[in-house]
């Protein structure tokens, strides 16, 4: 029973840790499937985390925080679109620039507004997204096996976790079953085909970049107002890049990307549990090595376990009518 509970709690934190990765990776999905490379996932998440924590601290509402987070992330997304779509700038350079701006801006504004060394005030429980207990969770708790699974694993997450998971099938449906999805995938593969079909490449790419902005906004808000209780300097700590790696591992498809996010999150969850634990035959492994586990896993997976990942053909290339 204890092993089961231990394992369930490991999976439970896997889902918690996977949520921001998943939202950011799906943001990347929309952007890159439309042909706009998004290195700036990290920066968008970071400004969203900051704006969300700041707004939640001032107005005392997680929902206001979420709204502020999304708006902040959208602002960066628009900037990225303006640089890369309207002005046909280099998408990688623009993304890197946004990351640097986000890192500096959040630290400076945080310090100026709250004077807490770049942190925002600790959020009280009602200014955060709390855990939801699903119906019958308590009642069914006693049922062997299924009861604990339902209680520990399925129930008891905040609403953003469920939202992130729901966005996966929704994204699949949008991408493969709707007009917008068809056009989105087409513009990332061959924008000239979209243009000659009489559809605006610019409008499509802006839509994709803005959707990415909204999703990064939710991801960032999750970090500071659901998983955490306030903002800390550079609290995304590379999650945006990890999300990008998950997107590549998932070969730019929504469902495989979900599994890639879960794998990274599982490694992360395992890592916290392994700290200070003596492994049989090895003894206690240095904390630093264990903390590096998720990143080692990323490198290993990307280096060759997934086969060839073929990006959307037009990604990274601004659309210029050729002559």
């Amino acid at each position: 029973m204890d092993t089961l509970l231990g394992f369930l709690s490991l999976l439970d934190s896997t889902f918690r840790l996977a949520t921001p990765l998943l939202l950011a990776a799906l943001a990347g999905f929309y952007s890159e499937r439309a042909g706009v490379v998004d290195i700036g996932l990290e920066g968008k998440m970071l400004v969203a985390a900051f704006a969300s924590a700041a707004a939640a601290a001032i107005y005392g509402s997680a929902w206001v925080g979420l709204g502020a987070g999304i708006l902040a992330s959208l602002a960066l997304a628009l900037l990225h679109g303006f640089a890369c779509i309207t002005h046909k700038g280099n998408q990688v350079v623009s993304g890197v620039a946004l990351n640097i701006v986000a890192l500096g801006l959040t630290a400076v504004l945080g310090n100026a507004w709250f004077q807490m060394g770049g942190r925002t005030p600790n959020l009280p429980a009602d200014a955060r997204f709390g855990e939801l207990t699903l119906p019958l969770a308590e009642t069914l708790r006693g049922v062997p096996l299924l009861g604990p699974i339902y209680y520990e694993l399925v129930s008891g997450h905040n609403i953003l976790v469920y939202l992130a998971l729901a966005i996966v099938p929704l994204t699949w449906w949008i991408a493969y079953r709707t007009r917008f999805g068809l056009r989105l995938r087409a513009v990332g593969e061959n924008p000239a085909a979209v243009d000659t079909a009489g559809i605006s490449v610019t409008a499509l790419r802006y839509q994709a970049v803005l959707i990415a902005g909204v999703l990064c906004g939710i991801a960032g808000s999750y970090l500071s107002t659901a998983q955490g209780a306030g903002f800390q300097t550079n609290m995304t700590a590379g999650k945006g890049f990890l999300a990008l790696a998950a997107l590549i591992l998932g070969k730019w498809k929504p469902v495989p990307t979900l599994f890639a996010c879960l794998a990274f999150a599982f490694a992360d969850a395992l890592q916290t549990r392994l700290q200070g634990v003596a492994l049989p035959g090895i003894g206690e492994v240095p904390v630093q090595l264990i903390e590096a586990l998720p990143y080692l896993l990323t490198v290993l997976l990307l280096a060759g376990f997934v086969g060839k990942a073929i990006p959307p053909k037009a990604s990274g290339r601004p659309y210029v009518k050729d002559r």
């Binding site: 007009r179 068809l182 593969e189 085909a193 000659t196 009489g198 053909k313």
Partner: protein, 523 residues
């Protein structure tokens, strides 16, 4: 989308009146007036850069004209975007297909014409409509196959079907036969005939005069952005069209004396190449090229000619067999790369100019020394002697009539023909004993073709061995002293210039071995 019924006998399907277009300093179209009749195939010919594609892109709303009017079925219209053109019943099949390769055929047809925000029901409707169009025009395509899995001929049919599905009454085809094999060309022409019968207007842009003669009703000739002549096809001939295109008398045939072959300079014995997928792309290739002769290699693109050139020029390894260069044997284990080949007196004009012969972004003088940049005459110690490089380029440009003769101009700013002349100059200038030439006149205008052909013949007459690979049968027939035909990675036959003709080579290209193996090919 089923097309609207054709209106009651309008005089013209489309009229372009006084179209003018400039791109910066380039005056692409000057006061062009053209009229296209319904139920007809109208040819548009001209050399590269004559303004054909620009004109059609204006009609399709890709560019806007600086001046002039467009009338569709007698009514003046304003075409600013492809969407406008599509709505007016104008469709275009671009030279580079506008297809999403990772999509199925049906998804490609739907793009931009989905019929609702959700695809499901629209897909079913589209399937039925497309089937109807396929029946009407004899255009079979597998609707659920991925475009990337289809041969180019079928991809082109998808493009035509796409235009028809969007209701095209007027169909523009830009160089549609450039990528097709002869049987595919015939199939395309049958489809175009069918379109004409069904009352559609076809605008065919090409620079192949034979095709114009074979299928069009009328033909307009463009030169330097202007319409210089219009003919009723039945009342003209290829010579008249060619003269109008280049603006002076040209000869389509090459004057050359009989060859006097000397020693074998280049030979291959049972050379095999197996590619990464395990497919044998070059099978037991045997050939001899003698001093003072041009050996032509004919075949449908992709039947081993490229591999043959790559092996002989040292660009790719072979798996078994022997290549002999001026008496020296090269085995699969021998170190032999492009630089070795050059040192041994073998020069190579590759098939794909922009990928393998020049660097588009480099100035002409840098492109003009690629491969010979280590040459002592071009260096000062370990540095390049730029003065010498530029002087060398100027002299190359002079000898080969490269225009404009500006060694500092970016390579991409030269026309295809002038880029090719620069490459030919670079490779021929050091009087190589053996010259490999791939597609010497692909994308080259008629004036430059004649020049390049003369240069090749004169090199032959100076006692050099030339191996010529070309997809243009006319070129093979005009230049070669002997002709090898390849099919499916194999050399399936050999003909002397005297016994060769188009139909005989055509049968051999299709893999039917008829000719006896003649002199020069070891059994």
């Amino acid at each position: 989308m089923s097309a609207a019924p054709p209106p009651v006998s309008p005089a013209w399907a489309v009229e372009l009146v006084g179209i003018d277009k400039r791109f910066g300093p380039v005056h692409a179209n000057r006061d062009v007036t053209l009229r296209f009749a319904p139920s007809s195939i109208h040819g548009l010919v001209g050399e590269n850069g004559a303004g054909k594609s620009t004109l059609m892109s204006i009609l399709y709303g890709f560019y806007e004209a600086d001046a002039g009017e467009i009338l569709v079925r007698g009514k003046q219209v304003d075409i600013r975007t492809p969407q406008d053109a599509i709505r007016l019943g104008i469709g275009m099949v671009h030279q580079h297909f506008m297809l999403v390769e990772t999509f199925t055929v049906l998804e490609n047809l739907l793009l931009g014409h989905e019929g609702g925000p959700v695809l499901g029901p629209a897909m079913q409707r589209a399937r039925a409509e497309v089937r109807e169009l396929e029946r009407q025009f004899g255009l079979e395509v597998p609707l659920d196959a991925l475009v990337s899995d289809l041969p180019v001929g079928v991809q082109q049919r998808v493009e035509i079907l796409k235009a028809l599905y969007r209701g095209a009454e007027v169909l523009i085809l830009d160089e549609p036969t450039a990528v097709l094999s002869p049987p595919e060309v015939e199939q395309l022409f049958r489809i175009l005939e069918r379109l004409r019968q069904q009352g559609r207007t076809v605008l065919l842009i090409t620079h192949k005069l034979k095709e114009i003669m074979a299928i069009t009703d009328r033909v307009s000739v463009l030169r330097r952005g202007q319409v210089v002549a219009e003919f009723i096809t039945a009342e003209t001939d290829r010579q008249a069209l060619a003269d109008a295109m280049v603006g002076r008398k040209t000869s389509l045939s090459v004057d050359k004396a009989p060859s006097h072959p000397g020693d074998v300079l280049l030979s291959a014995q049972n050379v095999n190449v197996i590619d990464g997928r395990g497919v044998t792309t070059l099978k037991d290739a045997c050939l001899n090229v003698r001093a003072g002769e041009i050996v032509g290699v004919a075949g449908v693109a992709g039947n081993g000619q490229s591999e043959l050139l790559e092996v002989l020029s040292g660009m790719c390894r072979f798996d078994s067999g022997t290549v002999t260069l001026k008496g020296q044997e090269i085995h699969p284990a021998t170190k032999y790369d492009a630089a070795d080949a050059r040192r041994r007196g073998l020069a190579h004009v590759p098939e794909d100019r922009l990928k393998l012969a020049v660097i588009k972004e480099f100035p002409a003088h840098e492109s003009a020394i690629l491969g010979y940049h280590q040459d002592k005459s071009l260096s000062k110690g370990w540095r390049l002697n730029w003065k010498q490089v530029v002087a060398k380029t100027v002299s190359l440009m002079e000898q080969f009539d490269v225009r404009p003769p500006n060694p500092n101009l970016r390579t991409s700013l030269f026309s295809g023909g002038n880029q090719q002349k620069l490459v030919m100059a670079r490779e021929m200038e050091r009087e190589p004993d053996i010259l490999l030439v791939g597609q010497p006149t692909r994308g080259v205008d008629i004036g430059a073709i004649a020049f390049i052909h003369r240069q090749l013949v004169s090199l032959r007459d100076r006692g050099k061995a030339i191996l010529l690979v070309s997809a243009e049968l006319d070129e093979i027939l005009a230049l070669s002293d002997r002709i090898l035909v390849m099919c499916d990675g194999e050399i399936v036959g050999e003909l002397s210039a005297a016994e060769a003709n188009e139909s005989r080579i055509g049968t051999m290209m299709a893999g039917i071995k008829d000719a006896p193996v003649a002199e020069g090919v070891p059994a």
